[in-house]
Each structure stands twice: as structure tokens, then as C-alpha cells.
């Protein structure tokens, strides 16, 4: 048995870890009580099996690539970082990238991850043409919007509960360069931030960093980052068309004492960060895609900064109507608490693509909290605000929401459950997350 956790390092669970090397071996490993795991970047308990966990990272091959169409067929264990490093220099990038590039293709589909362009270009699943799925009852099927479409739509965002994704065909975006033209806008409070995000709807990429310790008239003050793919003619003289990925050399070698992050250190950091950002605001400049899309990837093992007990990320989405009041209330409570981390993100989302996909048209807010004795009660209260506003939580980040919160947030759950049942009548696929939120007890 092996102790395993998600990226948040909470909870830590004992599981049998299997590393199959062939699709046949995957089938054998997926006996009852198992779920597939990619690169372990889901924050909570989504990729930990009830009894055993099936690591898919050995499946890291590209099967075929057609430069004429940008279509690529790959095994599910290929990492987005690998895809970007390999095909970026050839002028192709994924349409959608989340905040870390160290996720597997299978994981990106299972969580239907979103990026800074969700408001206008949709989620990762939108650019998946088809998948090779080994269902819970042991069949291997090709699923797409045309063929086995129920299985396809339930697997996109289905958190691995319909089967194991073995391979996928994606469409890649053609780009002239690996650089982003970035424009920073400073917003002095929440109203200004939401207005700036609304005004940024036309931008391909938009996201706000929000200072979650600022209170009173500064509540919700933010820096909004808008971005467009830069053309060759926009690059500084001498710059390579595709920037090199910086190796995450610098790391957090140990668990920092939990007192490292307190309201004073976070406030000092945020003050500095906001002022530096605000100074750059207004103009536009060209930045490498790596720091633009993946600011935290350059700090290896950053999850250790929260100390041994780990941390929880709370990511909710609130429907557009009435979002202002709820977001204000959440931010006020968080600011009064004072221990939410420096990476708080506010962004607009559009319609989701899978049956259980997280996004819905509205605003998503993501906050990190170190695990402390009282945090669960605090977050339960936040959840009540989210549910009352018709919102929901992102399963890929979740480690603790209640069944009631989950069921209220995902009205398509019964349709998902019916499809899952048809693909896995015996209920072989079970994760810690599914036991907590889905499975009959």
C-alpha cells in the first residue's frame, strides 16, 4: 500500500498503486474499487481509488500527428507540458491550458479543465474529437460527439468515473509564436474588477488576480491580465519564435512551518504585488507563454508552502446574475479571516461542454486555504452562499464539499449517473471522490 494525496496534500489516503504498461494490464488493474490517475494534479481525492489507483503516466506516446489539420492522437498519459514543448516550436499549441502544464491529457479531459479563454473558446473538452475509453464493464470503445455520444459527454468532465481514457484525438491551435501580448489593468475594487473582466470579454485570454486580504474600500482590488497570441512581427528583435521552457529548478524543498503564511506576510506580499502590477498597468507588452499561463509552475513543489497539513482550494462558479453581491460577501468573509493565499483568481466562464463539466456562464473565484481545524466549517458556510446563488464547486479542486452542496450544484447529475450505470453496471470504478459524493452507500 502507498500513501497518496492530491496536489493539495489533503486528504492523504492509503491505496494500492498500480502502474500498468499495456492496455491489457490497465484492464486487469481496473478491477473493483479502482480509478485512473494521471499526473496527480487534481487537488483533492478525485484521482485516488477506493481500493486501488491506476497510474497512467507510462502511456506517454504520441500515436499520430497531422500538421495539415492540427489533429493529434495521443495516449492519455502524455503531459500537456510535453505536448507544448514538443509541438509548440512546430507552431501548434493546445486550445485550452489550465494554470499548470503538468497535467495529463486524460486528467485534462476527465476534469474538462478550463483556461483563461473559457469565456470565449470553451473548455478542454471542446477540442477533443474522440477518445478511446475502457469502460467500467471492460469494453474498449471509441467515443465522440457522433459515436457513443453519451459515453463521450459523460467522460468529458466525468472525473474518471465512466472508465479509463486510454487515448484521445485533439485539435491543436496554430500559432505564429509562443509569446503572448499581455495587457495589465488595475482595478481598485470588486466593481472595477468585474467591469474590467466584462470589458475583457473580447480578449482571447482574461483573468484577474484578486487581493483577498484587502478590505473595506479596497475589497476585491485586482490586477486583470488580458492576452492575445503575439505574431512574429510583435516580438522584440532577436527573440526566438518559441521561448524555452524554464526548468522548475527553484523549489520548495521542505514543508514550510504553517505559520509562514499569516495575515501579515500575505498582506505584505499582496501589497507589493498589487503596487508592482499597477505600475505596469495600461500599456501592453509581450511575455513568454510559460509565465503567462503557468505562473506557479516555475516554483517546483509550491504546494509545500502550506505546511505539512496541506491546503484546500475552494473554487466556485457563480452565475452572472447576482454574482456581484455573493462574490462581495465571500471576499469580505475571506478577508476578515485573513489566511487565504496570495494566489486568488477571479475569471469569467462560459458554457460547459460535458454533462458534469464545472463551468457555467458566470464568475469563478479560486482561493487557497491552509488546512486548519476550523477551515471546514468556514468553507461549509461559503458553500451555502454559493448554492443559494445557483453556483457550484469544481470537482478537480474539491476535497471536502458535502453531498448536498454537490447535488444542488449539478442538476445534470441524474443523467450522468444513468450513463455511468450503463457503462459500469457493477460499479467497478470507485474513487475516494465518488464514494464521498456519487456512490450509493
Amino acid at each position: 500500500m502507498t500513501l497518496v494525496s492530491g496536489w493539495g496534500r489533503f486528504p492523504v489516503v492509503d491505496t494500492e498503486m498500480l502502474r500498468p504498461r499495456s492496455f491489457e494490464a490497465v484492464g486487469e488493474a481496473m478491477a473493483s474499487g479502482a480509478v485512473a490517475r494521471g499526473n496527480g494534479r487534481a487537488y483533492g481525492d478525485a484521482a485516488i481509488g477506493a481500493a486501488r489507483t491506476v497510474a497512467m503516466t507510462a502511456f506517454d506516446r504520441v500515436r499520430s500527428f497531422d500538421p495539415a489539420t492540427g489533429r493529434i492522437r495521443l495516449e492519455a498519459g502524455v503531459l500537456l507540458s510535453d505536448l507544448i514543448d514538443t509541438f509548440g516550436p512546430r507552431g501548434f499549441l493546445p486550445f485550452v491550458v489550465p494554470g499548470t502544464r503538468f497535467v495529463s491529457i486524460g486528467g485534462a479531459i476527465a476534469a474538462d479543465v478550463h483556461g483563461k479563454n473559457h469565456h470565449c473558446e470553451g473548455g478542454f473538452g471542446r477540442y477533443v474529437d474522440s477518445i478511446l475509453l475502457r469502460t467500467g464493464q471492460g469494453e474498449t470503445i471509441e467515443a465522440s460527439r457522433e459515436q457513443n455520444s453519451d459515453a463521450f459527454l459523460a467522460t468529458v468532465g466525468g472525473m474518471g468515473l465512466t472508465g479509463v481514457i486510454l487515448e484521445a484525438t485533439l485539435r491543436l491551435r496554430t500559432v505564429e509564436t509562443g509569446w503572448i501580448r499581455e495587457r495589465v489593468i488595475s482595478a481598485s475594487d470588486l466593481d472595477a474588477a468585474m467591469r474590467a473582466l466584462d470589458a475583457g470579454d473580447a480578449a482571447t485570454y482574461s483573468v484577474a488576480w484578486i487581493d483577498c486580504v484587502a478590505r473595506g474600500k479596497d475589497l476585491g482590488r485586482s490586477l486583470i491580465y488580458l492576452g492575445e497570441h503575439a505574431g512574429k512581427d510583435e516580438l522584440p528583435a532577436g527573440a526566438a519564435a518559441f521561448p524555452a521552457a524554464k526548468d522548475p529548478g527553484l523549489g520548495v524543498p521542505i514543508d514550510l512551518p504553517s505559520m509562514t503564511l499569516n495575515r501579515f506576510s500575505i498582506r505584505a506580499f499582496n501589497e507589493l504585488y498589487y503596487r508592482m502590477g499597477a505600475r505596469r498597468a495600461g500599456g501592453s507588452h509581450v511575455v513568454s507563454l510559460y509565465p503567462y499561463f503557468f505562473p506557479l509552475d516555475s516554483l517546483k513543489d509550491w504546494n509545500r508552502i502550506y505546511g505539512k497539513r496541506g491546503f484546500l482550494q475552494h473554487q466556485c462558479v457563480i452565475p452572472e446574475n447576482g454574482a456581484r453581491a455573493v462574490l462581495g460577501e465571500i471576499l469580505d468573509r475571506v478577508a476578515r479571516r485573513g489566511d487565504a493565499s496570495f494566489l486568488a483568481v477571479l475569471k469569467k466562464l462560459g458554457q460547459g461542454d460535458g454533462i458534469l463539466s464545472f463551468p457555467l456562464p458566470g464568475y469563478t473565484l479560486a482561493l487557497d486555504f491552509p488546512v486548519k481545524d476550523d477551515i471546514l466549517t468556514f468553507l461549509d458556510e461559503i458553500d451555502r452562499l454559493v448554492v443559494a446563488a445557483g453556483g457550484r464547486l469544481y470537482l478537480a479542486k474539491d476535497a471536502r464539499q458535502s453531498r448536498a452542496t454537490f447535488e444542488a450544484g449539478y442538476p445534470a447529475l441524474s443523467r450522468f449517473n444513468a450513463i455511468r450505470k450503463s457503462l459500469d453496471p457493477a460499479g467497478n470504478i470507485r474513487s475516494k471522490l465518488s464514494q464521498r459524493l456519487f456512490d450509493e452507500v
Partner: protein
């Protein structure tokens, strides 16, 4: 036919072999993968073609079938610029202590086969006056330890062979690289207790091999920490060393 450089990987289906093939293909080499099961190499060949748009050839090669080596080398359509031997067998030390067949397999897979095949390529390379030979040996060959001396002694023999070959080929235009990876997270070491800070991913070894070929390095400890560890282990007096059971 292309005018690109070419690299052949013996043991192409191993994790380090796959990583080395990717590293060379990424930097523009055409690649030949050689292994016992050619069909099993096909997905890796497709991967390299799709990723790097290079030519990939597949060859049947069994490191224990030394009788086939001359015809294997003789039948290659072109002589590669670089040949990398990654083949090897860790085996199980405890079994090898009493099972002669198992001990023989370990010795032949890690010493006899790799040395003979690289020796044959060396003759061709010296005749041509160019080329690089890479042998993946092991830190285990630096000193025989109680826990793995059958494997270690075979690797020691291979390291000595490479060292001698390098000296012989000096200033001939042919270069010989010895790679000592230390702990690598691969299928071979799965289930073993590896020491985190001394352990690297296969891709790190693949990149190190490419760098060593390009920079004409003689002996590569993939992680510098291993050079230090082995320096200390080698310096221990035998009277002390023999009491250690690691």
C-alpha cells in the same frame, strides 16, 4: 535518404532507451531502435515520427545472441553516427548467488553482449574514422557491494572495456562515452527502495547521453551527487568496506 545524423539505440524499448531516442530525435537525428521484439517497438517509432518528423528504423537485436552480431552489423543499410547500448539485466542478486544460469544471464547481458557489439561497431567506426559509442554502465560497477555484486561485477567489466576502447580510439575521430546513471525511475527499478535525492527520471538520462555525445564527454555520472557518493565508497579501506552490507 537524408543527410541528417543518425543514432542507433540498442535496447530501444527500455525506459532509458526510449528517453535517449527522444532526445536524439528532438535534436534532429534519424533514429534506429533495436530490440528483441520489433513489433513492440513500433508504437515508439510512431511516437518519434509524429513528434519530431524524423526517420525511424527498427531492427531485431538480442544481446544474448552474440553469434548474430556480425551479420547484424554487416546487414545495416548505413552505419550510424552514434550507437548507444542501453541493454542490461538487473536480475535478482539472491538468486544469482546460487543459480548459475541466472548469474550467467546477468553477466552476459551486462558485460559480454554489450562489449562485443560495441567492439564490433568500434572496428567499423575506426575504419570510417568517425562516430560515437555510448555504453550505459552503472555506478554499481565502481565497487562490488554485497547487495548486487553479480550485476556490479558485470558492469565493472563493461566500464573497463569502454575505458580501454576509449584509450585505443583516442585521436582516431571515434569517441567513447561511459554513462553511469545511478538510480533511475524505470520499469527495472520499480518496487525498489530508491533514495529520492539520488534518483532521476529516465528523460534526464536521455538528455545527459545526448549532451555527452555532443560535448565528447568521457565518463558521465548523470547526477553529480553520485560522483561524490562513489568517490567515498571507492575510497573506503577494504577492511571497513567488507563490513557494509548495502
Amino acid at each position: 535518404m537524408t543527410s541528417r545524423k543518425s543514432a542507433m539505440v540498442l535496447g530501444g524499448s527500455s525506459d532509458i532507451g526510449r528517453a535517449a531516442a527522444r532526445a536524439f530525435a528532438r535534436s534532429g537525428y534519424d533514429v534506429a531502435l533495436a530490440g528483441r521484439d520489433v513489433a513492440a517497438l513500433e508504437p515508439d517509432a510512431a511516437d518519434l515520427r509524429a513528434r519530431y518528423n524524423v526517420e525511424v528504423g527498427l531492427h531485431k537485436f538480442d544481446v544474448l545472441d552474440t553469434a548474430s552480431f556480425e551479420s547484424f552489423v554487416g546487414s545495416l543499410p548505413t552505419l550510424p553516427d552514434v550507437v548507444i547500448s542501453i541493454v542490461g539485466l538487473l536480475g535478482v542478486q539472491q538468486n544469482a548467488e546460487s543459480d548459475l544460469a541466472h548469474a550467467t544471464a546477468i553477466m552476459r547481458s551486462n558485460y559480454e553482449g554489450p562489449s562485443l557489439i560495441l567492439g564490433l561497431f568500434a572496428e567499423k567506426f575506426l575504419g570510417r574514422g568517425s562516430g560515437t559509442l555510448v555504453g550505459v554502465s552503472s555506478v554499481a560497477g565502481d565497487r562490488g557491494r554485497a547487495s548486487n555484486y553479480v550485476y556490479g561485477s558485470a558492469k565493472a567489466g563493461f566500464s573497463a572495456f569502454l575505458s580501454g576502447l576509449r584509450a585505443r580510439a583516442n585521436s582516431s575521430g571515434v569517441h567513447v562515452v561511459t554513462v553511469k546513471p545511478g538510480f533511475v525511475r524505470t520499469r527495472m527499478t520499480e518496487g525498489m527502495k530508491l533514495i529520492g535525492p539520488l534518483t532521476v527520471e529516465a528523460s534526464v538520462v536521455g538528455d545527459a547521453i545526448l549532451r555527452a555525445v555532443e560535448n565528447k564527454t568521457d565518463v558521465v555520472y548523470v547526477s553529480g551527487k553520485w560522483r561524490l557518493v562513489m568517490l567515498i565508497i571507492k575510497a573506503l579501506p577494504e577492511a571497513v568496506f567488507k563490513k557494509l552490507k548495502f
